[in-house]
Amino acid sequence: MHESSTPFIYNLTILLPILPFLAFVLIVLWTNRNKKLSAGLAVAGVGLSWLIGWAIAFTAFGQHGIAAQPFRMLRAWLPAGRAWQAFGFMVDPLSALMLLMVPFVCFLIFVYSVGYMGVGKPLGVHDQRGWPAEPGHVDPLASRFFAYIALFATGMIGLVLADNLIMLLIFWEIMGLCSYLLIGFWFARKYADPRKITPKEAGLKAFLTTRIGDTLMLAGMLLLFAQVGSLSFAEIFKPETLEHLATTTTHIALIGPVPWATLIAILIFCGAIGKSAQFPLHVWLPDAMEGPTPVSALIHAATMVSAGVYLIIRTFPLMAAVEHGPALQFIAFIGAFTALFAATIAVAQNDIKKVLAYSTISQLGFMFAALGIGAYVAATFHLLTHAFFKALLFLGSGSVIHGMEHGHHHGHGEAGKLVDWDIGAHGSQSTSHQSTNLPSFDPQDMRNMGGLFRRMPRTAWTFIIGGLALSGFPFVTAGFWSKDEILADAWVHGHTVVFVTLAVAALLTAFYTARQITLVFFGKPRTAAAEHAGEEDSIFRWMTIPLMVLAVFAIAFGWIGIPTTFPLLGRFSSNPFHHLMGSLAEALHIEAAELPFAATPLLTSIVVALGGLLLGWLIYRGVAEIGRREGDASWSPLHLADPLARPLGRIYTVLQNKYYFDELYGKVFVKGVQRLANWLFRFDDAWIIDPIVDGVGELWRRISEFGHAFDVRVVDGIVNGVGAVTAAAGSAARVIQTGRAQNYLLVALVALSVVLGAFLVLPK
């Protein structure tokens, strides 16, 4: 380390992940009784991280040669064979840019959470642990919430600073754990509709789905370690190492010789598929919306899901080691496909957060597609701008939902004083509705909203700004500049298929954004809740200020990346973003020259953004204008047909059901595993040989016992078979879970023996 030339501020890098971690430890061990103090600790911890992070980031921006000579602080800590894994952090332009975004967005979301969790409000009398609190009350587990999100911030900040893949994996898994804990934060919540996924199940689903990707990623990392002998980024990205990886091949059955670089790159990308919810592992993200809204913003928009993209950006030299190789093509294909696929689903969703969830999947697809075609700088740019406006949109939707809940509560407070809030805790929500003959009220359903612009102006303005940024409103918003750069890159480098796919996805993005804004904020209120919604409560002060700050960034952040070749505006721009990332790309030998100006992609992005917005507004204006009908008890906005439902017909139903992926996975994997387990269980049962009869000379008795067991098995088998078919739709999961550790371990032993046997018997 060059002590003389490195600014002192870099030595504080180690503090960045430690500060939120300290907050986590303090909250868990000491302050969890005091909700205000806990919230204060979490906010202070991440706030300090934010300040130091920005200081470090701006120092790095001002320093020449940081790309070629990143700052590193290392400590060998983990011996692995003869090699030592280092506990190390690193600051280079990419980390510095992420530091600009991650702690800052985390801080704003933490501030927002103070309001969202109702810190400072009295504890509701009827509130239960693991349920969302009644409006106007503090969540009973608010301290725990702040502890979790502080730990989460540790994970994300550590991830962007990690200097090697081991560190990256550690923080990656910390985030996975926090994601699980936070999605299932309202663990006791149950819905009247048994088909609706509960937070507890959603958390499990997220954890297990991402685990598939993580396992493959771990395999990739182990292969990399076996080939290179190190997992430090500095070692892996040496040109000779990459050359070695790209030229030596391994033989895979059925496929033939494959360069190590390709195999490892694809395996690592699988981890990103899981974490960033790309097709086919996208199913967990929409259900993750069961968590509290700040969590959706924090984890499922701004930070954690972008960790997958970050991983690919970080390991891009490895991905691109084989030039235009299958690894990059695979990334581009998955990315572009997901971008379009998720955008089509988002068009037909009615839940305000589900729309945003699918839009997140789609935007992450944009980033992967950009990486796949080699648009290294553009992908990073979109990652950062997207984090700002998507966090803004999620927080805005949380504000809307809270406003609706307040309106709902308020409306009922006037209408039916008789409605008892404490009947069966939160069962009250359904009981209160039986009096009005409505199905249980869903404050997240956009069909229940309408006309909120007048009721919640601050939320509305900021949400609309975020929406415009998402759809890429020309020249002003950050989303335009980053999306335009991706499209331009695809066009200039001649990736026509990717270009067209992304352009269509961008059109759909603008369309569903306009639909969402029109349905939520414009027209007339369609329910009493929407009519009484408001943002006057004191908690909204905490919630709207982060919205406004994010709105500023959702616009202005794009200006740091205006291409210098852009007509007119380019003359005022020095494009500092490209300059920074370009220097890193140069140090890593990635081609990232600034693009020449091309009119086609620019016109395309203007047309799709404006056209989509206009189309959405025209089509949904009519629905938005339908107001509430007083006195007509049988009328519900949920019966309104979507204007697209008729022209699209069947397709619309398919879209609404998300192409039936949940059902498909349920049938193929969940049921399949259950079948297999059932079969194993019976097989196992057949081995029951009562050890009491295990005496010498009692062979005949053993045989008869066995025969008896067989009899029981056949007879029972038929009976059980009939029963199983009937009960197949029900909760069959119990059958496999004997709950005995020894049974589970036996499965592991069998699997190990089979793998070992295959390894020995099969020819190399």
Binding site: A76, P79, W687, N743, L746, S753, L756, G757, L760
Partner: protein, 162 residues
């Protein structure tokens, strides 16, 4: 000569281990376990790891075995010698464990291990101590934290609740 010692020690270890997993009476199984640990300590001496052999005797025989015997005594009411030893899956487990052994043996005999004929370092205990406070500081500290946590955890878990 060394090979004869090895075979004797291996037979002692494996025989004792076999008795540990098959004996019906748990107290006897624990005593067989001590015998197996002695056999392993002998193997360590054959491998010229004398320090580890001493540690083996001290910790495994002196502490862990005694702990296990305590546990057996404390739950003695349930130690009915008439109870079945094995659970229902023992046949399957036995088959696959044998299969695993065959697989492992096939692997270890097939691979040409890079054997380096050299004498072990002089003064291994001193070197080991220096290594623990040198390059292995972090694992060493983590291990000590683990021991403290296990100590506290064991007390809290086993404490009588009022």
């Amino acid at each position: 000569m060394e090979q004869i010692f090895f075979i004797l020690l291996a037979l002692l270890t494996l025989g004792a281990a076999w008795m540990v997993v098959t004996t019906r009476n748990l107290l006897r199984a624990a005593l067989w376990l001590i015998a197996a640990f002695f056999g392993i300590a002998g193997i360590f001496i054959l491998l010229q790891a004398e320090f580890l052999a001493v540690v083996q005797v001290l910790i495994y025989i002196g502490a862990i075995s005694i702990l296990i015997i305590f546990a057996i005594m404390l739950t003695r009411r349930l130690m009915d010698p008439q109870q079945p030893r094995f659970n229902s899956q023992w046949g399957l487990v036995g088959g696959f464990a044998a299969l695993l052994f065959v697989g492992l043996a096939a692997v270890v005999t097939r691979v040409a291990w890079p054997v380096a004929a050299a004498a072990p370092v002089a003064d291994p205990i001193g070197r080991l101590g220096a290594d623990f406070v040198g390059p292995y500081t972090v694992p060493f500290e983590v291990a000590s934290v683990l021991l403290v946590v296990a100590l506290i955890g064991a007390i809290i878990i086993a404490r009588e609740r009022e």
